[in-house]
Amino acid sequence: MQSPNQYKNPSTNKGLESSNDFVRKIAEGKYKYGFTTNIHTDIIKQGLSEATIRLISEKKQEPDWLLEFRLKAYRHWLTMDMPTWAHLNIPNIDYQAISYYAAPQKKKAPSSLEEVDPELIKTFNKLGIPLEEQMSLSGMAVDAVMDSISVKTTYKEHLIEKGIIFCSFNEAVQEHPDLVKKYLGSVVSYRDNFFAALNSAVFSDGSFVYIPKGVRCPMELSTYFRINAQGTGQFERTLIVADDESYVSYLEGCTAPMRDENQLHAAIVEIIVHDYAEVKYSTVQNWYPGDIEGKGGVYNFVTKRGNCLGKSSKLSWTQVETGSAITWKYPSCILTGDDASAEFYSVAVTNNHQQADTGTKMIHLGRNTKSTIISKGISAGHSQNAYRGLVRVAPNAEGARNYSQCDSLLLGSQCGAHTFPYMDIHNETAIVEHEATTSKINEDQIFYCNQRGISTEDAIGLIVNGYAKEVLNKLPMEFAVEAQKLLSISLEGSIG
């Protein structure tokens, strides 16, 4: 989630005391991002068939190889079944009742801000997306994706000077077909899983990042996702390539309007890290979680994977998951290069009737590879929150090292917290550790806070933030403040 309020109201940045006001304010308004935008949208008919895919491809004027890729994925998808292994209760999804393409209607591609539909700018302003001059102040470049069409990539010229490519996926296909062709599907193949196949068949847009050799990206790159149109799914695709000795920090945020029906989001993120390069990928996911009765909400089925291809490459995933009715998400790392390292920091909060099954995979292939997993789950209300992770050490991964820690916090007696780690060790020099604990909030701590005049609700906010600190500290500044607030908001009303 992009920080919606911080630019308009800098006073909220001061930390917890002001964030508590914020929490109260938000609690009254419930899900604050639940507005719809009155914009002409070009939606194709519901349903999925080869014709749909050809239509999407045609609308985007895609080259033949990409259409071929989509069709292969679609044919493969037809042979697959919806996975059932996750600790989730997923209602039947009718894939024919979804529209696979919804684009804000436009006459021609806008070349400057003036040409962008003013309604759209208003939406993004509401969301706090600084499409305009605040941009350079905050030092971020934003690629806003609405209903899976990239509307405007800001701050682009500045990046071009450095040789950095940051554009929508469609643009990349048109302008840098060689790069896209080389890396598309190289980390997440279209055969990978059910949702990856579906995404590969119907993805409509996304972001593409290429950082050339030796370049340190001077600002944080950011994508912003929003589902707007009714009855649509969002299928975006992100591809990040960090060439030798480069560095980039990438942020991703998402919201959706409040709707009674469920919306589907199935994305793919692929990251390729070459020699001595480093990529930081941070997500604050705040899709609409459904109402207090569990009605509506986004189904979030995401495949995220990075390949630390080069020597001493580094990939770091940080995620704060507060939204979505159902989350099915395992940002993973393949440690191919020698001395590569990977990190996974996650806070997942579920409240009311939300369900989350999230975690990571660390596949150690290269020598002296290191990985760290810190996962903090918080469940409240009637929610179910599961961590699922795999650490695999291949026979050649000499000296591999993994440390995993998964903690769960339970608020209330109706929720569930689960841990399903898998370890597969095939090398005698590997050192792999896993620890998990589950407990409720310490009553002594709450009592102490009460004694100091802090209400129980605020005390829980404090304690939860302290509990998640280890992960929140890994977030870039802009996100950290926002994430703290989100944590408190998500748990609002769960006490008692």
């Binding site: 292994w85 600790h87 026979p395 769960s408 339970l410 608020l411 209330g412 007696s413 109706q414 929720c415 569930g416 917290a417 689960h418 841990t419 399903f420 780690p421 898998y422 370890m423 597969d424 060790i425 095939h426 090398n427 005698e428 020099t429 590997a430 050192i431 792999v432 550790e433 896993h434 620890e435 998990a436 604990t437 589950t438 407990s439 409720k440």
Partner: protein, 449 residues
């Protein structure tokens, strides 16, 4: 479906024989088990529960079955003129899957009144009213093919009944002997019923006498009544061409205390599935396991601790040492059901891999639906501490010796939970022998060597 077919055919052909040479309470669930088996088929590595052991391939070879209950020439006393030193036990034998009743009743004579330790078949014939309400109730054939096939073919096994408020001071030792001249399949059944406040200690040893391929399935159902205490030690010492598939179900009532200790010293392929249900408040479970494996040995422990009541405690510790091409797997699930508040559950799995070829899978799991609980699990895979090794070497201990010492220390943590001193001492010795390579093959009873 070849593997399934041969068992379906045998059962269809010989169902009458099987039933005739068994007892009514054992025959009743056969038809359902058969239907379930036909429906389920053998699990493969695609089944989450069996993903580390390919069960179907284990059942594929042709094994002999002693459905006609022929006497197998063996005098267990000749083979086992032994006992754990300093430990007097009431000794019983099960040869393949037949309770050996030619033992003079001497060893049973010391048992308190009302206690039954004997053949499941005989007891089921004589006192069906004791066996029937418990047999095949915990071990559900509908969701496990191994339980189903065992229920189809099992004709005999061990039965233990300890009445309310009865304490058996002397440990009961059961020796399972696998003895055959041809490749052989044995289907054993164990039923243990502990009355309220009863107390017993039980030692079960698995041995294979002949160098043929054995496949032994064992289904145990253990009921532990209110306030009862049961210590169960299982020791496996077979050889590399034997397969052990053991499903154990334990049901614990209020305030009961159960200690399970499973030790795999020598084996071929072993799969132990253990399910413990803590059904009454304040029940306590200590669950410990250890495996030492080398060559191509495979040890797979699948445990499930079900906290169905509040205020229960479970402690679980499993340790593996894998050498050469050995493979090990551990999957442990602790489930805390809604309302099972004040649960304390701890689970630890630690493993040592000594070679590149050795492979370990570990999968500790928690599923928690109550908030006022303290649950944790931890798992590690690694090597011996280099600093400790270095320290020992600076003290003049050779590297080999230092490694051995550290490995003993590693597994002794499990042995130390044994609450029978004589057995503990014996196992310390056996483990040392095992690490020194002096316990290569089970020749007769290793316990008495």
């Amino acid at each position: 479906m070849k593997a399934e077919k041969q068992y379906i055919d045998i059962f269809t052909l010989y169902e009458d024989t099987i039933c005739r040479l068994s007892a009514e309470p054992l025959n009743t669930p056969r038809a359902k088990a058969f239907a379930d088996f036909k429906h389920l088929g053998f699990p493969t590595r695609k089944d989450e529960k069996y993903k580390y052991t390919d069960i179907r391939s284990l059942f594929e070879p042709d094994y002999g079955l002693n459905l006609n209950r022929l006497d197998i020439p063996v005098n267990p006393y000749e083979v086992f003129k032994c006992d754990v030193p300093n430990m007097s036990t009431a000794l019983h034998f099960i040869v393949n899957d037949v309770f050996y009743n030619k033992v003079p009743a001497a060893s049973s004579m010391h048992l308190p009144q009302g206690v039954i330790v004997g053949s499941l078949k005989e007891t089921a014939k004589e006192n069906p009213q004791i066996v029937k309400p418990f047999y095949a109730k915990l071990a559900n054939t509908a969701n496990d093919a191994i339980t189903a096939i065992n229920t189809m073919f099992a004709q005999d096994g061990l039965f233990i009944y300890v009445p309310d408020n009865t304490i058996i001071e002397k440990p009961i030792q059961i020796i399972n002997i696998l003895r055959s001249d041809v490749n052989f399949m044995a289907n054993r059944r164990i039923l243990i019923i502990m009355g309220e406040n009863a107390r017993a200690q039980l030692l079960l040893c698995d041995h294979a006498m002949d160098n043929v391929n054995f496949l032994a399935t064992q289904v145990s159902e253990i009921y532990v009544g209110r306030g009862a205490t049961l210590h169960l030690y299982e020791l496996e010492e077979t050889h590399t061409s034997s397969v052990r598939l053991a499903n154990c179900h334990v049901w614990q009532e209020e305030n009961s205390n159960v200690l399970l200790n499973g030790i795999t010293l020598h084996n071929g392929t072993t799969r132990n599935t253990t399910q413990v249900t803590l059904n009454g408040p304040h029940a306590e479970l200590g669950f410990y396991g250890m495996a030492i494996a080398d060559k191509n040995q495979h040890v797979d422990n699948n445990t499930f601790v079900d906290h169905a009541a509040s205020d229960c405690t479970s402690n679980e510790l499993f340790k593996y040492v894998l050498d050469e091409h050995a493979t090990g797997a551990f999957a442990g699930l602790a489930l805390v059901r809604p309302g099972a508040q004040h649960t304390h559950s701890q689970q630890t799995n630690r493993n040592l891999c000594a070679t590149r070829e050795a492979r370990m899978w570990t999968q500790p799991q928690l599923e928690i639906y109550a908030d006022d609980v303290k649950c944790s699990h931890g798992a590690t895979v690694g090597q011996l501490d280099e600093n400790a090794l270095f320290y020992m070497r600076t003290r003049g201990i050779s590297e080999r010796e230092a490694r051995l010492l550290l490995m003993f220390a590693f597994v002794n943590e499990v042995i130390d939970h044994i609450r029978m001193d004589a057995l503990k001492d014996r196992l310390h010795l056996l483990v040392e022998k095992r690490f020194r390579g002096e316990l290569n093959k089970c020749q007769g009873c290793a316990i008495c060597k």
